[in-house]
């Protein structure tokens, strides 16, 4: 069974440009999460989709970040315009159920973003 896949694995863009990260969750997983770790900081929650709906987007840092999950399958996270402090690794994860109790979430390899 394929795991959570993310694209691109690495991206280097200039400040002010736009980058779109894509995540394909495990088939059948309604719950999709985005996390990120920026420069030496801890992994932080960004948002949670249940199918195509945003269940919780309290972790989104500002309005330069836009996440979508049209059709409830894959998700995209767009950063526009990118700033230097956005550099880091963006993880996507998915789970079958939203409840962590007795359940697990599966992470992708991450998309490494460098803004120069």
């Amino acid at each position: 069974e394929a795991g959570v896949t993310q694209f691109p694995s690495h991206s280097v863009i200039e400040k002010g440009q736009t980058v779109t990260l894509r995540c394909d969750p495990i088939s059948g997983h309604d719950n999709l999460y985005w996390y990120r770790r920026v420069m030496g900081k801890e992994i932080k929650f960004l948002l949670h989709f249940v199918k195509e709906s945003k269940q919780d987007e309290s972790g989104m840092p500002n309005n330069r970040f836009l996440a979508e999950r049209t059709g409830g399958t894959y998700s995209t996270l767009k950063v526009q315009p990118a700033e230097l402090e956005d550099s880091g690794v963006y993880f996507c994860a998915s789970s079958q159920y939203p409840d962590f109790s007795g359940n697990t979430i599966y992470f992708g390899e991450g998309s490494w973003l460098t803004v120069v």
Binding site: E42, G102, I105, F107
Partner: protein
Amino acid sequence: LAKTTQPISMDSYEGQEVNITCSHNNIATNDYITWYQQFPSQGPRFIIQGYKTKVTNEVASLFIPADRKSSTLSLPRVSLSDTAVYYCLVGVLGGGADGLTFGKGTHLIIQP
């Protein structure tokens, strides 16, 4: 969401048993305790999860005392490939605005 405290780093030698303890004094009744492993340039990978007492799988054991205010991840006979960051997490996914909080993790270094 319960906050966790773990050692920043540990080191050991191949073939030894390694125990990493995590404190979570404010754990809630319905919180589970989950450990993840992360290698450089990879995403976190699930190791083990438990609610109370002891859980064992093919990779590790998890010991949880009765008060559940701490937990210990036990890795038997470690090898060099066990060098990684280990995260202890407690909480209920989707149950609050904080989501899952990873904390700083424990950097485990295994030497030959």
